[in-house]
């Protein structure tokens, strides 16, 4: 490895940042892979309980009046998508050398995600059912709760991007952290959209003659 280095070096290991960021990118991919399994297991729980309708207790109490409203899921997911696109945009600008754009994009995205976070909490608070009201209630509640946790993380990340851009840690020749955050946010968007789709598509359970609990009546 020659000494004339055109790009900055990692202060801790002395390697060129391209080397360290390649490494970090792999790490981010792996973390996303792991998180995906988590999301998948929530979706499995939702769809499996929906398909079984054990003891006819999938639907929240009587009637379909108690399904959660669909639009909040989509609104929140939409907000997350916009926030994510902004970060990607900022990353693009940053690579071209426009740090200011990165800063503003990160700030706007932070505000949007904060709004989503508040909206998410509001949605959970206003569900037409409590956690005790059967399987649908539980599964939907947890899809929302997971999203809530993700959003708080996303808020942390984008705010951090803003801080780091301000402190000059995000430079055109060392932009990788913006990219990592954007990658993670993209995964969050996919997760949010998936839960929106699941809650939209799977309402009334297909299984209408499940056995009554503890008896032999089909």
């Amino acid at each position: 490895m020659s000494t004339e280095i055109t790009e900055p070096l990692s202060p801790t290991t002395g390697e060129p940042v391209s080397t360290t960021s390649r490494r970090d990118r792999l790490g981010v991919w792996l973390i996303i892979a792991s998180c995906t399994t988590g999301t998948v297991s929530l979706l499995i729980a939702y769809s499996y309980l929906w398909s079984l309708n054990v003891n006819n207790a999938w639907a929240p109490t009587e009637g379909s009046a108690n399904w959660a409203a669909d639009w909040p899921f989509w609104a929140i997911a939409g907000g997350m998508v916009i926030g994510t696109l902004l970060i990607w945009r900022g990353y693009g600008a940053l690579k071209k050398g426009n740090v200011g754009a990165m800063k503003s994009m990160a700030l706007i995205s932070t505000l949007i995600l904060l709004a989503c976070f508040i909206g998410q909490i509001f949605q959970i608070a206003t569900f037409p059912f409590g956690p005790q009201d059967g399987a649908y209630a539980s599964a939907t509640l947890w899809l929302a709760l997971a999203n809530c946790i993700w959003l708080s993380l996303a808020f942390f990340f984008t705010q951090a991007l803003f801080n780091r851009a301000r402190r000059g840690r995000l430079t055109p020749d060392n932009p990788s952290h913006a990219q990592f955050v954007a990658m993670f946010l993209t995964y969050l968007c996919v997760a949010a959209l998936l839960s929106a789709v699941f809650t939209l598509v799977m309402k009334d359970s297909p299984n209408t003659n499940s056995p009554t609990f503890g008896t032999f009546q089909q």
Partner: protein
């Protein structure tokens, strides 16, 4: 080292590189090597021991009076087949293991690291290909046998298809098995819904069980009949068998279910049809037509 002569080739083997076809390809040459002979003998011995052990295993399985149904008999037969099929390969593995451990190829017992290097065998096409083929064939055989056996047993226990759709099960008896902490109870819907704490069944009549639980997961295990199915809360599972042996057998719970799990046991009494009918009558039920 005393074993050097074993590791240097026989007189008729090439000492130096030649262009003659590889000795490895001639099984006869290979079999001439002393250690190969010894290992093959060991293989035969060990395989024989393993096969003998199977009889012991089945003897243990039958200690409590089984097999009480064709299903259990079939399970034991499957065990025989599995062992017979895998004994040679297992024997060969253990033979090489024993031979190397016992020092057939020499041993280095020095404190310092050995000075002599072993033969630089990186790989061996013949060995690899043979091994993979044999193992795959073995696995294939086991799978196929297992699938067939499973299909037969499922048919014998009516799998999950209702009993009235069973060609051979027109006169089968339905029994509702309820597991709850920490009791089994048996309801006879065909016999006026009488309920009993003991599973009383007539011999040579197909039985069809609907199994469920009132609380947590239990597992309905008729030991000597080789039938086991979980009793799940909120779901009904099915199994069945045809008892072919008079006597008293064990019904156990095979899934941890709390404080008295260890005591969640009862008996299965296999009796003659007459005894069964009289039992049903004194329980106040109606006998099966």
């Amino acid at each position: 080292m005393s074993t050097v002569d074993e590791r240097t080739p026989e007189a008729d083997e090439p000492e130096v590189p030649t262009n003659r076809p590889p000795g490895m390809h001639l099984a006869s040459d290979w079999l001439k090597r002393p250690y190969v002979r010894r290992i093959l003998i060991l293989t035969v011995v060990i395989a024989a021991v393993i096969i003998a052990l199977t009889f012991v295993m089945v003897a243990f399985m039958n200690m409590s009076g089984g097999p009480a149904s064709d299903i259990q008999a079939q399970i034991e037969q499957t065990m025989f087949v599995l062992t017979f099929a895998s004994a040679p390969l297992m024997g060969f593995t253990l033979a090489i293991l024993t031979y190397s451990w016992w020092g057939g190829w020499g041993k280095v017992t020095t404190e310092t690291e050995p000075t002599e290097e072993g033969p630089a065998i990186r790989t061996n096409g013949v060995a690899v290909v043979t091994w993979i083929t044999v193992c795959s064939l073995l696995a294939a055989f086991l799978v196929i046998w297992g699938l067939v056996a499973l299909a037969q047993i499922t048919a014998g226990s009516y799998g999950s298809t209702p009993v009235n759709q069973q060609p051979n099960a027109t006169k089968a008896i339905d029994i509702n098995v309820t597991g709850q902490q920490w009791l089994w109870s048996f309801e006879y819907p065909d016999n006026g819904r009488i309920t009993s704490d003991v599973l009383v069944v007539p011999i040579n009549v197909p039985l069809y069980f609907n199994v469920t639980s009132k609380d947590v997961v239990h597992s309905f295990w008729v030991v000597e009949a080789g039938v086991k199915i979980d009793a799940n809360p909120g779901a009904i599972t099915n199994t069945g068998f045809t008892p072919n042996k008079l006597g008293s057998f064990n019904v156990r719970c095979a899934e941890l279910c709390g404080l008295h799990h260890a005591y969640m046991e009862t008996k299965m009494q296999v009796v003659t049809q007459e005894q069964f009918n009289s039992w049903v009558r004194e329980q106040g039920g109606v006998k099966t037509s």
